[in-house]
Structure formats: structure tokens, C-alpha cells
Amino acid sequence: MGGLINVSPTGLLVENTLFVIAVVVYLLATVGYVINLFGKKEWGGFAANTLRVAFLIHTAFILTRTVNVMRVPFVGHFEFGNMFIWSTVLVYAWTEWRLKDKYHAVGAFLMPVVMLYISYITLFPKISRAHNPLPPVLQSNWLKFHVSASVLGYAGFSLAFAAALMWVLKYVMENKKDAVKGSPFLKTLTQALPQPRVLEEYMYRASVFGFLFQTVMIITGAIWADQSWGRYWGWDPKEMWSLITWFVFAVYLHARFTRGWTGKKTVALVLVGWVAMMFTWMGVAWLLSGIHSFG
């Protein structure tokens, strides 16, 4: 059993069209950021503006979907992934604006990750975009808080991951100075990447943002589970993997601000944390069984 909401053909058409346009414009922004990375500075502003346009179209898609499903579009793998992508772009666009467009290079690393997320929710055959009604167990205001905190937490970790990738690339380049000197391409790339110290700070701040919301997500989930299932912690794989992700980032943040860890060790922790986050989102859904079967 499990029916579908009867969506009007016009509603469906608007929804699908907006989604396709948003994806295409996101792709265009990604291309812009990558070109900017290779020395074409004028593409940075173009990419940033394109991203903002894509984000607005994406927002319109979410609003249309909300109207079509007659509830918050937070349920199921597609809707969660969609909100996660939207939040990632929102947080990145906000940081770009806050930093006065100084670090367009981050976009060249974050946006391909975002495109991977989009590919996953659109191309993975097991993910349904069906308009399902909300089962009673999910008819709770905690859904809004829990999922909002979750997608914002994931967004922060995605940004930290992008900065970690940049740090790794910068590190490799700096350790292969001869090869970089001989290649104008690599030289431009190295120059475009911010200093490791800046990248570490960016990674740290993004992780802090993610960690705070991951904490709120776990807490709101526990309160909701207590109301709904009669216990605040059930050792469910989704709960456990959220906690594992939290542990990894907790270790990173502790190590950084109390022991002054920097460099390879902290970057490695952020990369591991991102993998744990991805497994919480994707791996648990398809490889492990638990009670979080709705998303």
C-alpha cells in the first residue's frame, strides 16, 4: 500500500521544468567556477551570479514541490537530498557573499561535489521522485526542525570537504614544485588556490557550522523519537552513523582548538568525517536496515 498524491499536469510540468533548469544552471555555474580556477578571473563573478540565479530557480522548484505535495518536501531520499543540495548552495553562496567573493576557487571544488549529489538523486534508479503523502508518524513539527538541522549540518560538512580537497591539492602542488614550475597550467592552478592557512580556517569554520547543526539534528531527532517511538535512542544504524559522523568531527574540532592540530591530520579527519556523513545519507539507506526507512 502507499498511494500517490494526485498532482495536476500543470503543477507537474512546472515542477519538472524548474528542476531541469536549475540543474542546467548549476552546471553552468560549475563550469564557470572551474574556468575561473584556471586563471580566467572574470569567470569568477559570472559563476557566482549564475549560482545565485540557479539557487533562486531551485528555490522556486522547492516551492512548487511544496504546493504539489501539500506538505514540506522533506521526506524520502529524493526530497531530503534535494533539500541538502539546496542548503549546501545556500551556505556556500552566503559565505561567498560574506567573504566578498574573495574565494571563488572554493566553488570550483564544491560545485562538482554538488553536481555529484544531483547526479545521485536524479540518476540512481532506486530513488523515487514520486509525490507521496506524509504518513502520520512524520506528521510532526519535529520533522521540520530535525530535517532542517540535518541538511544544514550536511551543508557545512560538504563545504569543509571542498576546502579539504583544495588543501590536499595545494599540499601536493607545493611538494612538487619542480613539476609545477614546468607547467603553466599547474602554476596557474596553484596560484588560484588560497593559502593552506586560509583553507584550514575555512574548513574549520565550515566544520563548526556543520557540527553545530549536526548536534541540533541529533538532539531534535532524539526528542522526536522519544515522542513517537517511546525512546530517545534506539541504536538504529542511521542514528549510529550520525553519531559516528559527530564523533569524527568532535575529534577534529577538539584536536584543532585544544591541541592546535593543523595540516594533514586535521584534513584527514575532515575527509573521514565527510565519508561518514555520506554513508549516513546513502550507505545506511541501501546497505543497512533500520527504522529510518522513510529517508
Binding site: 500500500m1 502507499g2 498511494g3 498524491i5 503523502p133 506524509l134 504518513p135 502520520p136 508518524v137 506528521q139 510532526s140 580556517e201 563548526v208 557540527f211 553545530l212 548536534t215 541540533v216 538532539i219 532524539a222 526528542i223 522519544d226 515522542q227 513517537s228 517511538w229 517511546g230 525512546r231 530517545y232 535512542w233 541504536w235 538504529d236 544504524p237 549510529m240 552513523w241 553519531l243 559516528i244 564523533f247 569524527v248 568532535a250 575529534v251 577538539h254 584536536a255 582548538f257 585544544t258 591541541r259 592546535g260 561518514a276 545506511v284 543497512l288 536496515s289 533500520g290
Partner: protein, 439 residues
């Protein structure tokens, strides 16, 4: 867990007593990190196991609980160890500073000024204030030092976070030791007794409210009255996401079941037995030598592809009971019983007539007493506050003095955990001083 650089290990080993060394180890952040990583690795392995196996053989095992207890001990010792130094750090800052002392700070600026003396310092004082710094002026024999600070409560972020984790662990432990969990339920008119809590629950009306889309699992509301020694202690309605709470105990709606009302009539004698069956219930008809088994109830019956009975929705548009009879130990093929349409079964001792006369719902409850819940809640709120204090209330301190030897303003800054933030503020301060100096 968190600990500021304690000095070289060699120094510690030669200076501290063995007990102090053990305490240092138990409160060290290295141990905290190792324990957190260990918990993470074990949890990764545990999630690859079947959930109930993981709960019984890992999460509730003595060694896993032991690691958590060890983590709690590490947190507690670390918190105790840090409270004193952090309090001193937060409330007893060194307000006087010489120009040379400020120059030694990692973040400092030396800015030539036109007018010597107090005037530039007065200007810096305004700039400090405009940057949100609480400013004091210290006069010493060596001159005037301006001191500005902000965010001193940020020093306590890690302490509050640690305390919150301890509270959460304490709440979980207290809840587990003083509480209980069980499951029970029934249909309208039923009652059950919960020995652990010494109370009885009487189930009143159990009603199903359908969603707009009948294929979505409906909500079931059940009225429950709780009594102890005949005295009512709580009355209310239980539904999904809306438990009934009393005395630290909660009754949660867990699920609902269909109950089929079946009449079994012996045509020879005219006797009628009115029975109620949950799915899976069996009833042995002694005089007929047959067993009746209720297999499944379908409120909106249809036959799916492959001859599999199913329900199109939760709406009782076509209620059907699938059943099976066993004669002399021999199972007959399953059959279907439609509402108010009697079926006659041929048994070795004569025919028997069975009729599905109705159906109703039973509510299934999860019952849990958890006195640790308020502690857990306070712990959760404190954790968010602690993390906010840790990451967003970063303490920053600035000093400024006039260096007569070089006719320069010397400004220095220090931060706790956020060097870049201090650098950004220093950039602002420098730029404002230069603006005022007309540069």
C-alpha cells in the same frame, strides 16, 4: 577531555607524582580522542551486525558501557581540572602591558602617530569601544595601557559542553536504572496491568481516523484510564506522536492491529460462538475436531497479480478475512471470508458455519518509564549553548600603549581559538587608527 598544552611530557614525568601522572593521563585530551575514535570504530562495526544482535552483544555489553563510562570519567576529570585555570584566564586578565610586551604578541601593529602622548590613545579607546571591546585604562609607572576585551564567557564553552555530555550520560544512566520498558495493548474494553509501575490501564474507545489519502496508514486514537488501587491517576487519549504521560511514565501508540469478529455456528445444535481473532490466532473446535486459524485481515480486499490477497487501502470498503482450517493435523488450503457472508466447512463430525460479522482495532503501546528525561533535556539544551559559546563567543583581548621612544602606537591582540578572527579585528583597528591619523 580538552586540555591546554600541559608542558613537555618529560617535565611532567620528572615533576609529578605517580597519582598526578595517572590523573593527567585520565584527564588528557589524547585519551579523550582515543576513546571517541574507539567508540566510532566499534559503532561502525556494530552497524554491520543485525540491529538486535548489535544491541544485545555490543551496545549493552559490559565493555562498551565500560568505554562510555571511561569517556565520562575522562570528561569529568578534564572538566574539573580546567575550571580553575579557565576561571582565572577569564576573570583575571593581565591588563598592564609594556610596549615591548605587546610587540612580542603574535598579532601586533606598530603605527607611527603625529601627535604624541594621550591623544592617540584616547582615539584608540574609542576605536576599541566601537569594535565592541570593554575597555579599561591602566596607569603604571611605565605609562598608560589600554586594555579591551570581549567574549570572556567563550572560555567556558568547552566546560559547558563537557558538562552537558556528562548530564546526558548521567540522565541516560539514571533513566536506565530507575525506569523500565514494556509493550502491551488491547482493544476497546480491555485492560492490562503493569507490574513494574503497579498500575492498571483500561482501554476505552479505540478509533481510527483516516487520512485524506486512504492508502496512507491511518491515525488510531485510544482513550486510556490509568488507575492504582482503584484510584484514577491519569486519563487521556493516546495517538501517534502524542503519548500519555504520568509519573515519569509514557504510554506511546506503537501500532494498531485488526481484530476480526467471527461467529462459529453449529447447524446441528444451533449454538453460536462469538469469537474475536487477532491475525495469527487459532481456535480449536473440540467437537468438530478442526482448528480454525485467522491468517490476515484485509479492510479493502483485492487480489493482486499472482493470486496474492492484498488491501487497496485502509478504508474498510471490502473487509475480508483470510483463514485456514486444519483437520486431523492436515492443513487445508487458505480461503477467504467476506463480511456477513457465511461459509460452510465440512468436517468429519458434520458441517460448521463461519461468518465474519465485524471487525475492530486494537492499539499496541510502548510503555516506558524514564526519570532521566528532564536531565537529558537539560543536557541537550546545555550542549547547544556550550557549542555556541565554544565556537561563536570567541574571547579576544587587545592592548594598546604609546611608545615614546618611537612615537608609535603599539597595539597587540590575543584570541582564544580564533587567531584569524583576532587578525581581522586588528586589521579593522589598524585601518581606523590610520584613517584618524589621516593616512
Amino acid at each position: 577531555m580538552a586540555q591546554e598544552t600541559p608542558g613537555l611530557p618529560e617535565q611532567q614525568s620528572t615533576q609529578a607524582s605517580p597519582i598526578k601522572q595517572i590523573l593527567n593521563f585520565l584527564s588528557s585530551m589524547q585519551l579523550g580522542i582515543i576513546l571517541l575514535l574507539l567508540l566510532a570504530v566499534i559503532s561502525v562495526f556494530a552497524t554491520t551486525q543485525e540491529m538486535n544482535t548489535a544491541i544485545s552483544s555490543i551496545y549493552t555489553s559490559w565493555w562498551f558501557v565500560g568505554i562510555m563510562a571511561f569517556t565520562a570519567l575522562n570528561l569529568l576529570l578534564c572538566t574539573i581540572e580546567r575550571i580553575g585555570p579557565l576561571t582565572r584566564q577569564a576573570f583575571q586578565p593581565k591588563r598592564e602591558m609594556t610596549a615591548d610586551g605587546i610587540k612580542k604578541m603574535q598579532i601586533n601593529r606598530v603605527i607611527k602617530v603625529k601627535s604624541p602622548g594621550d591623544e592617540p590613545l584616547a582615539s584608540v579607546q574609542q576605536i576599541f569601544k566601537s569594535n565592541g571591546l570593554q575597555t579599561t585604562v591602566q596607569e603604571t609607572s611605565e605609562g598608560i595601557t589600554l586594555f579591551g576585551e570581549r567574549g570572556k564567557f567563550g572560555y567556558f564553552g568547552s566546560i559547558v559542553t563537557h558538562l552537558s555530555l556528562l548530564l546526558i550520560l548521567l540522565g541516560a544512566m539514571y533513566g536506565a536504572l530507575t525506569g523500565y520498558e514494556t509493550r502491551n495493548g488491547g482493544m476497546s474494553g480491555d485492560n492490562f496491568f503493569v507490574t513494574q509501575g503497579n498500575w492498571r490501564a483500561d482501554i476505552g474507545e479505540v478509533r481510527m481516523v483516516f487520512e485524506k489519502d486512504p492508502t496512507v496508514r491511518p491515525r488510531v486514537y485510544s482513550d486510556v484510564t490509568i488507575t492504582r488501587n482503584g484510584k484514577v491517576i491519569k486519563e487521556g487519549t493516546v495517538s501517534i506522536n502524542d503519548p500519555l504521560r504520568f509519573e515519569g511514565t509514557s504510554i506511546y501508540h506503537s501500532t494498531f492491529l485488526w481484530i476480526s469478529q467471527v461467529n462459529i455456528t453449529d447447524p446441528a445444535t444451533g449454538t453460536v460462538e462469538e469469537l474475536k481473532f487477532f491475525e495469527g490466532d487459532r481456535y480449536f473446535l473440540q467437537d468438530k475436531g478442526v482448528q480454525f486459524e485467522s491468517l490476515a485481515f484485509f479492510p479493502d480486499f483485492t487480489m493482486a497479480a499472482g493470486g496474492r490477497p492484498t488491501s487497496k487501502s485502509y478504508n474498510p470498503n471490502r473487509p475480508v478475512l483470510a483463514y485456514r482450517i486444519t483437520i486431523n493435523g492436515q492443513q487445508e488450503p487458505w480461503d477467504l471470508l467476506e463480511l456477513n457472508e457465511p461459509a460452510t466447512l465440512e468436517t468429519p463430525n458434520g458441517p460448521v458455519e463461519i461468518t465474519l460479522t465485524g471487525f475492530e482495532n486494537a492499539a499496541v503501546y510502548s510503555i516506558a518509564k524514564n526519570l532521566g528525561r528532564p536531565i537529558l533535556f537539560i543536557g541537550a539544551v546545555l550542549m547547544v549553548i556550550g557549542l555556541y559559546m565554544s565556537f561563536f563567543l570567541f574571547p579576544r583581548r587587545f592592548w594598546a600603549t604609546f611608545d615614546a621612544k618611537t612615537s608609535s602606537l603599539v597595539v597587540g591582540g590575543r584570541g582564544y581559538r580564533n587567531r584569524l578572527g583576532v587578525e581581522q579585528i586588528m586589521e579593522r583597528i589598524e585601518s581606523e587608527i590610520r584613517n584618524r591619523e589621516g593616512e
